[in-house]
Amino acid sequence: MQALARFFSMVGANTIDRIWRLGFAARFFIGMLSHSGETFRRPRLLVRELYVSGVLSLIIILVSGLFVGLVLGLQGYDTLQRYGSSEALGILVALSLVRELGPVVAGLLFASRAGSSMTAEVGLMKATEQLTAMDMMAVNPLARIMAPRFWGGVLSMPLLAALFTAAGIFGGWLIGVVFIGVDEGAFWAQMQANVNFRDDVLNGIIKSAVFGVAVSLIAVFEGFDAVPTAEGVSRAITRTVVTSALAILALDFVLTSFMFRGL
């Protein structure tokens, strides 16, 4: 009986703790947004973050995109040719990537590569008192350190998703048309006829922008909130990757049900 009571109070305490943390994160988000003016007045800061989040993620995004496209092409062809519809390979590859795999997988990779590096940077700065030092020098770390990283991530994410999707379609074309021999004309023509810019491509871009906001916010917040020790920082990095992954998948469901309902 006592054990049951303890279990419930533990769940209760945990839930309250999570809700409190969520509120703290929300206030952090608003604080960071209101201090974002500096990021855009000093493009140097933003350029550095675009480099760290975007450029340094290019290799993993392009290579992964290519491989995903290759696999899609292979698996897709294998299934489609059983129904004599191998000419629909272009549609299959394009729609899967543009609508779902592009934003989601690129988002997950972004969270692991750029998100974890953001958390690490901010967390280490916290652990070595650099954030406090900056605060004591009357420079707001929210404006100088957090906001640029957040906006760098938000701007990089859709760009990376587009690159992932393009690389994937290239991979699908490579396997399907070049290696297997699906008709090139049919591949592109059917794709073009069935992929709608506004409904598919634009929605995919919107999704990746939303994921970018979520991942960047989580990454910067976890770094800011990390326990200022080496162990605390490494735990914060793990939390970033896990929370970002869950957030991306949950948001994907929500967005997909709004965007692709009834199509």
């Binding site: 350029v47 675009l50 975007g54 450029v55 543009v98 990376l160 810019f197 491509v201």
Partner: protein
């Protein structure tokens, strides 16, 4: 980190990303001038729209000239009221025939416009006078069976 090197790579990153978006827009999807062309709306009433969906194509002579904008049910006349968005560059005569056709044998349904010979064109907000509803497969089959049955009966009577 050298500033110039960073700037260069960020520039490269932004340029290739935009190239990727352009690729997606032009080569992958059907983004074309028609996506942003101006349109006007006309309505058409049908007894049965079958599987017609909003955003389905409106074709004439097989070429896409517009999209289905809205499908509503008229509780007064118990008919389906379909709103069509036609590109402004295409005008159709007042005696145009609108029918619901199927792409291929079992594909998606679309509205086909058969132009008539009238000099006057349907204005924006106007209605298509003549319509042909979708062919519902079940009714077709029961029609066929009924005909077959009545044929057999006629033969039996004749004998």
């Amino acid at each position: 980190m050298n500033r110039k090197v960073m700037d260069f790579w960020v520039g490269v990153f932004v340029v290739i990303s935009f190239a990727a978006v352009l690729f997606l827009a032009l080569k992958v999807s059907n983004f074309s001038a028609s996506s942003f062309a101006s349109t006007y709306e006309i309505t058409a009433k049908f007894d049965n729209i079958g599987g017609l969906k909003v955003r389905g194509p409106v074709k004439s002579a097989g070429v896409v000239v517009g999209r289905v904008a809205d499908i509503r049910f008229d509780p007064q006349t118990y008919e389906a009221n379909v709103v069509l968005k036609i590109e402004s560059q295409y005008q159709f005569p007042k005696d145009t025939f609108a029918s619901i056709l199927t792409s291929g044998l079992l594909g998606e349904q679309y509205i086909g416009l058969d132009a008539g010979g009238d000099d006057r064109m349907i204005p924006a907000g106007g209605a298509v006078a003549k319509t042909q509803s979708a062919i519902v497969l079940e009714k077709l089959i029961s029609q066929f069976l009924f005909n077959k049955a009545s044929e057999g009966k006629k033969d039996a009577d004749a004998q």
